[in-house]
Amino acid sequence: MFRFFHRHWTKRWERFYSKNRWHLILDCSLGLLIIILAVAVLLLHFYRPNLPSFSVVKHSEINLNNPPLELDFSSATSSIKLAAGAPLVISFKNNGSEDLQNIKVSLQSSNQDFVLTSISGIDSDLAVIGNNHQVLIKKIPAGTSGQFTLQAHFSAKNQKTRQIIWQAESQYVLSGQSFTENFSLPTLNLAIRVTAQNLAYYTSPQGDQLGVGPVPPVVDIPTNYWVFWEIKADGDIKNLVFSGRLPQGVELTDTRSLLAGDFSYQEGSRQIIWKVSDIKANSDSYRLGFEVQLTPQGDQVGQTPLLISRVNYYGQDALTGEEISGSLGSLNTDLEFDRFNQGQGKVSAE
């Protein structure tokens, strides 16, 4: 360093200062000016004027990285029904030393498939519902905590989507500071809507003869009917099992039609089982049809014998993992769904 300055001083002395002393005076003046300006910059940097508007600063310090209000959002259920709305639990805690007032919590949907239509049912006096899907928490005393629940209501723009993604924004003012914080709310899964059917026909809805034999059924003469099981859902289902039992006097024929899955019949228990490992949402490709044969006995005259009983199904909602199940009861020869043969189920002697 010293050598650098010495070499530089020597060069300038030989070239300028020794020839004219005004060069030396000019360089010294410029160097002094540079030092003065640097000092001025430093002073301005550390200058803290005592202006009236900054007088509140005298309150206790706020750690902006750890604001006093702690909010937490949770949902009590893993899936909801759109018509019933979604329960949302808002938990709050004031970690600061000062009371918090007028905290605004705004809710909104984040995906375009659903619109948040309203909020209702706040179960606490601490909060009220404001405009634009806003909840207003009146006051949270310092060091206190609590929670309340509300119901959020949505409308669907796209029936094929089952997940509601939404968010909240909190806003309050403390010590003159405006605090805003965004929260991702728990994703809401719409409960799967399953349409399962257990139908029996002799004649199809479009007039095709499916069954064979006399209708109404006649003693000792077989009449064949078709039973259809069908399932359709707005979400994927895993491991669907459909089952039903054949009553005594009703036998399974070899005729069937299967659009998906595996069919089996357990002779001992007289149980028909239809298994489909994966059901895709909104598909109409999950249908089983099978033919059963009723041969009425003499003691069944005047009765409407069952064709299949205890029809149940269960499976798993692939999205939520929740079990889905249902019971579809029994079908008899009155053929409730067969518009051509409905009510013609009583066994006749001849």
Partner: protein, 674 residues
């Protein structure tokens, strides 16, 4: 030289000439075998068109002169038809010279000498039928100047005047009686000695003379010339002739006058007759619409191998009445007749008789009571007809209530769709080209294949599945023979949705198959050899579409080369395109309104039997169930709604000759019908 020596020489000479004389008739392999006993002396053009539908025609010999063109027209329309020339063997119209259109009878009459008439002991000519004179067929008849009797002359007449024209396959000798003593109260002088013969003597003279006439006919005309007789069956003739007509079945004169008696005779004839045997059962009824009578006769006939005819009555055999049962092809025989009321007995007696055929069964209740019968583990379908809709209702049945002396033809339930693609598990209706349902609908399903797989079951020559099949499911093609997998490939690698499939094949192997990606895939068509080698690949529509493409395969323009017909998947206008196998676009046309974008399913089939393939289309999801039929130029040939017009779930179309009528039926499938 004795008569028998002369006959022997004649037979030897004829043996050398037979190959030149005539060609063997071929009996129809399928049943029912239908005969028309149409005895008008001339036939119109319109009648010729209709008469060509029968398998066996018995036409008066005068048609040869009066309606030769029509006769030739019948032959042209139905080359397999058997046409016999009718003439009475033992009588002739008394004043035949007064008839204007009786050329052949007049010729015959000119040769008849006084000594050929059948006379009583007073020398008076005998008439057994109004306005006719009987002829003496016995050797008691006097010789003419050429040393011939009538039983010598008649065969020569038949051969020289009828057979020689090449128009006839044979002759129908009416009144082929084996006895004659019942005529004219037995006052017969066959040997012209002025004395009445005893009954036994008369019958013996008559039958031996008649037999001589038949034998000479056979000798002159050759073994392939059909000779059919009519009248009470006389066993002595049966080895010479090819059969008998059992007129007015069951006739009072035949074997006791009962159904059982006539049936015994009917069953016996083929064992006695010269080959081929062509027994004919004729029923006449003044009512054209006595369908029960028709069925009774037809079902009785179907218990044997003969031909059935139904007409007005003995005074007027000349109708072209056609019945619903005639249209159904029962196919070849599959069993001998058996009595369902006495399965272990073969005795011919009144019962509920059944005979099985490839495509159905014939049943007849010949008892005096209505019979109820429950088919064990069998189902049948009634014919679907307009004439007697209560019987031919098209209904599926597993039991039958059949009235006394009634018959019925039932269709075997065949739910295999052969030689055309179908979607496994879909429900199919079967239509003719006019949109009439020809069979009841059914679920096409085989547990060998996954649900919704596209499947082609390949049939053998006999029309039954031979175990070879091509199927496409979850993006994969499988060629199998029974349980053995011959080929597996994934035409679109990672694509796992359904595929559209079409193939060209013989009963032995698949030559070419064409695949189209299903919904979710691009409209890429891939063509493979039966070995799985890729022959070509091309996009039939905009490659950015993801509705897939539907394919059909066949020589639609008759150029001897296969074409690929495509229908788009969802998302574009319903444009049908015809490509070469290499993917060169030949032509295209819109199958439906250009705004419809639900996709179009396609199939090929000769639905009108003209030898050319028609393009059949069905709309995809969102369209009504309207089937359209186009020729190769895209001109609409037909259109119909296959299901309720309000159904918009989309339909699949296929084409196959389901009922063996040489026309493809249109199969229209849907996934769910409710």
């Amino acid at each position: 030289m004795s008569v028998f020596k002369k006959l022997g020489i004649l037979i030897l000479v004829s043996l050398w000439l037979w190959p030149l004389a005539s060609q063997a008739v071929v009996l129809p392999a399928s049943y029912p075998r239908l005969a028309n006993y149409f005895l008008r002396w001339e036939i119109t053009d319109a009648e010729a068109e209709v008469l060509a539908k029968w398998d066996l025609l018995i036409l008066d010999m005068e048609v040869q002169e009066n309606s030769r063109l029509q006769l030739e027209r019948i032959r042209a329309l139905n080359p397999q038809i058997i046409i016999l020339a009718y003439l009475t063997s033992q009588e002739i119209i008394a004043d035949i010279d007064d008839y204007q259109q009786a050329y052949l009878r007049q010729e015959l009459r000119q040769e008849i000498t006084e000594g050929w008439w059948l006379k009583d002991n007073a020398g008076q000519k005998i008439s057994n039928w109004p306005e006719t004179w009987m002829l003496n067929l016995s050797d008691g008849a006097l010789l003419n100047s050429s040393g011939q009797r009538f039983n010598d002359y008649l065969p020569e007449f038949v051969v020289n005047k009828l057979q020689s024209t090449g128009l006839w396959d044979g002759v129908f000798y009416d009144n082929t009686w084996g006895d004659v003593a019942w005529v004219n109260n037995s006052n017969l002088d066959l040997n012209n000695d002025g004395v009445v013969e005893s009954r036994a003597e008369a019958d013996q003279l008559w039958s031996s003379g008649f037999k001589k006439m038949l034998a000479k006919t056979r000798a002159l005309a050759g073994p392939e010339f059909i000779i059919i007789g009519n009248g009470r069956v006389y066993d002595g003739y049966q080895g010479i002739i090819n059969g008998m007509m059992l007129e007015s079945f069951p006739s009072s004169w035949e074997n006791g006058g009962t159904w059982s008696g006539s049936m015994k005779t009917y069953f016996k004839l083929p064992t006695l007759n010269a080959k081929p045997s062509l027994p004919v059962i004729n029923i006449y009824d003044k009512s054209q619409t006595n369908y029960r009578h028709v069925r009774f006769g037809l079902a009785s006939t179907l218990l044997g191998d003969g031909f059935f005819s139904y007409d007005y009555d003995v005074t007027n055999h000349g109708q072209t009445w056609w019945y619903d049962e005639y249209d159904f092809d029962l196919g070849p025989v599959r069993s001998q007749p058996y009595n369902l009321l006495a399965r272990s007995s073969s005795e011919i007696k009144p019962g509920l008789w059944r005979r099985d055929f490839k495509n159905g069964i014939a049943l007849i209740n010949s008892t005096d009571q209505t019979q109820n019968f429950l088919f064990s583990k069998e189902e049948f379908e009634k014919l679907k007809g307009d004439q007697d809709p209560l019987i031919n209702s098209g209904q599926r049945i597993n039991y039958l209530k059949l009235a006394s002396r009634d018959g019925v033809i039932l269709i075997k339930r065949n739910q295999d769709i052969l030689n055309t693609p179908f979607t496994n598990g879909y429900f199919y209706r079967i239509f003719n080209q006019f949109g009439s349902q020809v069979r009841g609908g059914f679920f096409a399903y085989s547990s060998f294949f996954p649900g919704t797989a596209e499947v082609i079951l390949i049939g053998s020559g006999s029309g039954e599945a031979n175990g070879l099949s091509l199927n496409a499911a979850a993006g994969q093609i499988n060629l199998t023979h029974n349980d053995k997998r011959l080929l597996t490939l994934k035409p679109y690698n990672l694509f796992k949705n359904n595929l559209s499939l079409a193939a060209d094949f013989s009963s032995e192997k698949v030559n070419i198959f064409v695949v189209g990606a299903g919904s979710g895939g691009g409209p890429q068509v891939r063509v493979f050899a039966g070995s799985g080698r890729v022959l070509s690949s091309f996009f039939a529509y905009d490659k950015n579409l993801r509705g897939g493409v539907n394919v059909a395969l066949g020589d639609v323009d008759g150029d001897g080369e296969l074409e690929i017909i495509t229908g788009p998947g969802q998302g574009t206008e319903p444009r049908i395109k015809i490509f070469s196998l290499a993917g060169e676009l030949k032509t295209s046309f819109l199958a439906y309104d250009a705004k419809f974008q639900g996709g179009v399913n396609v199939a090929l089939g000769d639905v009108d039997g003209d030898g050319e393939l028609e393009i059949i289309t069905g709309p995809g999801l969102g369209g009504g169930p309207q089937v359209r039929i186009f020729n190769q130029s895209g001109q609409v040939q037909g259109s119909f709604f296959a299901y309720d017009q309000n159904f918009h779930g989309g339909i699949k179309v296929s084409a196959s000759d389901i009922n063996s009528d040489d026309q493809a039926e249109i199969l229209v499938g849907l996934k769910n019908f409710y």
